[in-house]
Amino acid sequence: MTAMALSIRDLFLSFGGVSALSGVSFDVRPGEIFAIIGPNGAGKSSMLNCISGLYRPQRGTIAFGETPVTGLPPHRRARLGIARSFQNIALFKEMSVVDNILVGRHLHARTRLLSAGFSLPSARISEKAQRAKVDEVVAFLGLGAVRDEPVGTLAYGVQKRVELARALASEPKLLLLDEPMAGMNSGERDDMVRAILETNAAHGVTIVMIEHDMGIVMDISDTVCVLDFGRRIALGSPSEVRDDPHVIKAYLGEEDD
């Protein structure tokens, strides 16, 4: 039996008595695209925040591969290979596109304060290597035209792509995407879907994604997990979930025509 990429067991999270997650469990297999869906306030973003370490669940465990990560701070989880994007764009707004993506290379370089300040050969070699890697990611996501622009001046869809680029630059094993297609037009959506699929196929990155666009979720996911009021109400392949009466009642029912 191979280890799961991610194992969530019996997660409880509440904010001052208001519970966001009540006993959610699921497994994510290595290399799959795993979608979390559910109505607003279902606890989807809370779940992602627990996985990346921004929230501490009151109860339950999270294991990344064989490693328990429940008590680890976010930067330690990043070092293990967990990267993410945010629902509301969370870029370093005063930096250029390239510099933003370079921050994604942070955990692959060792350069310290003094060697950087004195520009020692080791620092310069490392910087060059990181920049080469960033150029690959820039080319992969078609960001060449805006690479030196300050990120705050770019269109929304482009900023979303920069955020994905920054996450990819860290060469994650597990990529968490919080509504990667939100607010995009259909052309931008297609680009994003292609980028996600390629990342998953070419680099074998496991993807856990929150998304509201049901068409895309059903198209590209291997597994879909449905949350409602902090509980898991369904889990399975897209077709299983689509036909689940709980899901139709809680969620899809409203969207069906």
Binding site: G53, H75, R77, F92, D99, V103, H106, L107, A109, S119
Partner: protein, 333 residues
């Protein structure tokens, strides 16, 4: 073009001790020391986004450490300067610990508390600091070279200021510097990209305090005598003004702010002297006038150009560039 301009500036600075007046060299030293100190504060406040009112305290730590090391521990004056910086860095990292939890105004208050703790310690710890009467600081000497006046000291100040500038420039083009900016721009995003936010903040405090401590040591050596009154809170406010007016998060801005606001009172002094015939009591109001002009400048810059002189400079350069490139097409005017 830029290379020529910076070459000429550097040459003028190197030649300054050979033809500058004593007054010019005093001002030049104060400018250089301000550059180092303001760069230090900018690393913390401009680049890492941590507001500090503790700058005067770290100047004091640098100054009194240097004075103690030279006079009471028998350390050579040249070695005492980096040592003073190191002591300031160590204490800076301790002062930085609350920054894990405190932000903005609350952090400003915590660093303000640090200022008063240092001030109190300097007054009371007489055996080390000389208490209220202060200490005299002997000139650094090595192989018969004694830096006992502004003319001789200037070379050292210039060298250290240039080293500080180069260090900062390199730092913010590389991984650790980017980590500091990332923490400033989006702490959560920085953390999920693998940056240890606490460590980044502590190193910003340490590095900042090192620069400021070196500036404090140099200032002590320049003035030759220091007392608790040499480091009032207004010194920290002045440094913050220089960072804001020069340009937060800009190495060039630190130079523009430090030099500009060190020269400004000198300009005001010259102006009031010139006008003293008509308004004799103007000279006595010089220090108030200085505070007034500083305050108005801060407000004006915060409203109209939060990125400071550095942004104005960049825009001017770009404009020039644009017009020189247009000329061949547009023909002669």
């Amino acid at each position: 073009m830029r290379r020529v301009a910076s070459g000429v500036t550097l040459a003028a600075l190197v030649l300054l001790p050979f033809f500058g007046s004593n007054y010019a060299l005093d001002v030049a030293n104060r400018c250089g020391i301000a550059v180092i100190g303001v760069l230090g504060l900018n690393i913390l406040t401009g680049f890492t986004g941590l507001i500090s009112l503790g700058n005067a305290a770290f100047m004091a730590i640098g100054g009194f450490s240097a004075a103690f090391l030279i006079t009471k521990a028998g350390v050579n004056g040249f070695a005492a300067i980096p040592a003073a910086g190191a002591i300031a860095a160590l204490l800076g990292m301790i002062v930085g610990v609350p920054s894990l939890r405190l932000k903005g105004l609350y952090l400003a208050m915590a660093t303000l508390a640090a200022h008063f703790i240092v001030e109190f310690t300097v007054v009371k710890w007489e055996s080390v600091t000389g208490g209220v009467s202060g200490m005299s600081v002997p000139a650094p000497a090595l192989f018969g070279v004694v830096l006992d006046n502004d003319r001789k000291l200037f070379g050292l100040v210039l060298l250290l200021a240039l080293a500080a500038l180069l260090f900062a420039r390199n730092l913010f083009r590389a991984r650790p510097g980017r980590a500091l900016i990332a923490v400033r721009d989006h702490e959560t995003a920085a953390a999920v990209m693998g940056i240890d936010v606490f460590r980044a903040k502590i190193s910003a405090f340490g590095l900042s305090a090192f620069f400021v401590g070196v500036a404090g040591a140099l200032a002590a050596i320049q003035s030759r005598i220091i007392s608790p009154e040499s480091y009032p809170l207004s010194l920290a406010i002045d440094a913050l003004s220089m960072v804001i007016i020069g340009g937060m998060g800009s190495v060039a801005g630190s130079v523009l702010g430090a030099v500009g606001l060190t020269l400004l009172p000198e300009g005001l002094r010259a102006a009031t002297n010139a006008l003293s015939g008509q308004w004799p009591d103007l000279i006595s109001k010089l220090s108030i006038l200085k505070e007034l002009v500083f305050s108005i400048l801060i407000i004006v810059f915060l409203i109209f150009e939060p990125h400071g002189l550095a942004a104005l400079w960049r825009r001017a350069v770009r404009k020039r560039h644009a017009t020189t490139q247009q000329q061949p097409e547009g023909g002669g005017k």
